[in-house]
Symmetry: C2
Subunit: 231 residues, 2 copies
Amino acid sequence: MPEIKLQHILTMRELMLIGAHHNFVEVTTTNLGRVIGRSQQAASKHLMELEASGYLERSRKGQKLVVRITDKGFSEIQSLFTSLKAAVELSPVLRFEGKVVQGMGEGAYYLSLEGYRKQFKEKLGYEPFPGTLNIKLTDKVFTDARREIDKYHSIFIHGFSDGKRTYGWVKCYPALVNDGQIAEAAVLVLERTHYDDSMLEVIAPVSIKKTVGIENGDRVKVNVQLMIKTD
Amino acid sequence: MPEIKLQHILTMRELMLIGAHHNFVEVTTTNLGRVIGRSQQAASKHLMELEASGYLERSRKGQKLVVRITDKGFSEIQSLFTSLKAAVELSPVLRFEGKVVQGMGEGAYYLSLEGYRKQFKEKLGYEPFPGTLNIKLTDKVFTDARREIDKYHSIFIHGFSDGKRTYGWVKCYPALVNDGQIAEAAVLVLERTHYDDSMLEVIAPVSIKKTVGIENGDRVKVNVQLMIKTD
DNA sequence: ATTACTATTTCGCGAGTAA
DNA sequence: TTTACTCGCGAAATAGTAA
């Protein structure tokens, strides 16, 4: 979530477009105001506020100003950009709704194996909380959707062997829990699953039950972000 | 420039993440308020305002709401996304400043040739206004930068022959004029140029002189958006 | 010309609450 | 439970202007 104030986005964008990230550039508040569609005074205030937040450096050069965007400021814009990217590129979505049920404890065991952990960290960007959320799908429309999921692109976790036995592959589908309460989660499809099409297994970097505040028996929503083929 | 109000972009983002672009989805304003970090009332107002602007469709389903983002709404977010993409990905920038001078009228003639026009339309996304802006670079720092431009990636317009004679290639470098006053322009580098390193030739879909309000002799700024190699 | 102060207005948000 | 109204506060914008 961006900490940057929304009204500063256009200002930051224009500054970046004229190269203010890597160098100091000369600006006038009158011109900046015009390109962001605000007054000269608003542009002036934006620059002062952005400086106060540590998003840019600003100093006088004669009567004009020179400014440079800091790395902190740049990464704010970048993170907003990334989240919009997800919104425009990761639709459509498969929607599920069901009841939280007790898992068999197997999920936690598997996820803790180094052979999986390393790949999760590398491919999902986080290490899953040890423990999966098991959801019993309650409605036909959801179990139907559950059978669709295989058709779409997934993040593939390879199986491996520890010498004694082999462990199957895992497909991960990035998902949201309860419309954004947890924005970084994944539905898992296991090669060797003990579950049926009415079950959904979900991981996240945090404990989903604690974060969302749910118990076994409660209803929960999961939106799977189906990835569009990138050409 | 997005017409959408900045305070609505988080709302639109969350709706898109739960699949509201292609389907109607059920939302409650309480939950939406939580995920956008605002109150239930604010979420409710956002949805009403977005509907009034034609960015989403909204109707009651019992006590709850179902909403769907319109194509108009989607393209608003997409265009904001695109402009941020330019800001985060197209840096660094080469900056020029110089004096508008009278061209020889050759530019307009060349650009009007079908062999060029078709390619401009296809590769730049617009047909150039018939007439180039010629800028005399005044400072050593700018003529030095002018010699750098060849090193960077450009949009390449192929030369062609009309049977009587051949016409050389043209390299286009997307640029801004006067810090965003014209956001869609391009610096041209011609295979057979009559100009030297102190000259810059710029095109845009509109008349630059009229749009910016400048005459021969006035000073003008051009920011060339150097494209980073995409891997 | 410029920035940025003060005053004023407009706008967005949350609280309280009706339906 | 829900949505969405009114009201009041504070944030953010513009206008006017000093320096």
